[in-house]
């Protein structure tokens, strides 16, 4: 099975998108960094394995493990029932708070105020799916291929609001003080989990054990706080 293969090879290949800050990105010396990157590094170190990042884009995260090009995915993967039909998820190692963020100067307070506003999202993310399923709310959704493009759209004024993680919403104003965004309407909290091919029970068990341990000892929380500025939710830490 896969676990044996990994241990024998002394190497684990992890599929991570390095273009979705602050989970995966490059630091100013162009080395990978971010919360998912550090989680992956910690996992490899704990298991005594060499780590290889399989560079991926949002679209190819899953096919990479399905076709055996990567062993597991650590790449802000939110757990949904639909996706669980295709791959297996471990238990959550973090959560992702999603909000609808708006310009600080805007008057948006609740869903009805969003009428006639355009909301930018990253295509295919759980934020996208959630907003898209709110058919009754009559929302105008503009989907971009990645977070960077979405942020650029928000900065340049192509969209009025964004549906994204709280971290990213706060990030928009850092680069462009004339358009500061803040969270206005909470959208949902998603569980983030490690993804792997179906039917690899031993690997699944070992991953779950590792997550449980590191949630308990606070290491995962430390990483999360370092990059997202907030703690993991209380119900997860207890």
């Amino acid at each position: 099975d896969l676990l044996d293969d990994i241990m024998k090879a002394k190497k684990i290949r992890i599929s991570t998108d390095l273009a979705i800050p602050p989970s995966g990105m490059m630091d100013s010396t162009m080395k990978p960094t971010g919360s998912d990157v550090e989680v992956a590094q910690m996992l490899a170190k704990d298991w005594g394995l060499e780590l290889e990042f399989i560079q991926t884009t949002g679209a190819t995260r899953i096919p990479n493990v399905l076709t055996g090009k990567a062993d597991i995915i650590i790449s802000t993967l939110s757990v949904t029932a639909e996706r669980a039909k295709v791959i297996d998820f471990t238990k959550r190692y973090a959560t992702l708070q999603s909000d609808v963020g708006c310009l600080k100067s805007s008057t948006v307070k609740d869903w009805p105020d969003l009428k006639d506003k355009s909301i930018g999202v990253s295509r295919g993310t759980t934020q996208d799916t959630t907003l898209s399923n709110m058919k009754d709310k009559d929302l105008k959704i503009a989907r971009y291929d990645d977070d960077a493009t979405m942020v650029t759209a928000a900065v340049s004024g192509q969209v009025d609001c964004v549906g994204s993680s709280a971290t990213i919403i706060n990030q928009i104003g850092v680069k462009n003080p004339s358009r500061v965004f803040e969270s206005r309407i909470p959208l949902a909290t998603f569980d983030l989990a490690i993804g792997l091919k179906k039917g690899e029970q031993p690997l699944m068990d070992k991953l779950n054990a590792w997550i449980t341990e590191n949630v308990k000892n606070g290491k995962l929380n430390a990483i999360y706080k370092k990059f997202h500025g907030v703690d993991l939710p209380a119900d997860m830490r207890s």
Partner: protein
């Protein structure tokens, strides 16, 4: 995240540019070899060979490169072939380039005037001799400008190899942008870099065309 454009970013972009060049070379060499076969197949005396190669060309030319790359990379793995990204991207680009170069070259071979074919035939040369000694030397002259012109398109299109994990010029730009959020500066740098790689080739192909005294369009994917 954040910070300013520094030498590391530029070196990262430079590395991406090198990959772009490398992928282009692979695509051109692989596509050139297969494309030559396609060109010959398209004018084969056997109807079945002509038909098969025509279908191949139609299929490839009717599908975006992005989709071809995706299916090539994961499709090969899905049927049990373990291939590195380099091999997979190389194979996909080869298939893609071959369809276009094959068509360009077929046109060039066929544009050698018919009387030249007949004159060679009248001298009792065999089919291979006719091709090698009479037709191809003339076709190569005609084919050089559009081929050089097409290389420009290959360079630009390798940007799509990012879907299979290649950090070439375009992708490296996106990655840098994601940590800096300075789209204009970065996309401008990318645009200029591509221009610097492509324009000399464009110019060269135009000069060749002019020297041959014919204005051929170098049709190519955007």
């Amino acid at each position: 995240m954040g910070g300013h454009l520094n030498i590391n970013h530029l070196m990262f972009l430079g590395q991406g540019a090198l990959w772009t060049i490398g992928l282009s070379l692979i695509a051109l060499i692989g596509g050139g070899i297969v494309g030559f076969v396609i060109a010959l197949a398209r004018i084969s005396p056997l109807k079945s060979v002509r038909l098969a190669s025509a279908i191949y060309v139609q299929l490839i030319q009717g599908t975006p490169l992005l989709v071809i790359l995706f299916l090539g990379y994961f499709g090969l793995a899905a049927i049990g072939l373990k291939v590195s990204p380099l091999v997979a991207a190389g194979a996909s680009l080869t298939l893609y380039v071959a369809a276009y170069l094959g068509e360009i070259w077929r046109g060039c071979i066929q544009s050698v005037p018919k009387p030249q074919w007949e004159a060679a035939e009248g001298l009792a040369l065999s089919r291979t001799q006719r091709m090698v000694k009479v037709i191809l030397p003339q076709a190569i002259r005609i084919a050089t400008p559009p081929t050089v012109g097409f290389m420009v398109q290959i360079i630009k299109n390798t940007s799509l190899a990012s879907v299979v994990g290649f950090v070439e010029l375009m992708r490296s730009g996106q990655i840098v942008n994601n940590s800096l959020f300075e789209p204009f500066a970065i996309y401008a740098i990318i645009a200029v870099t591509y221009f610097a790689m492509c324009y000399p080739l464009s110019l060269f192909s135009q000069r060749l065309e002019r020297r041959m005294g014919r204005g051929r369009s170098n049709l190519a994917p955007a």
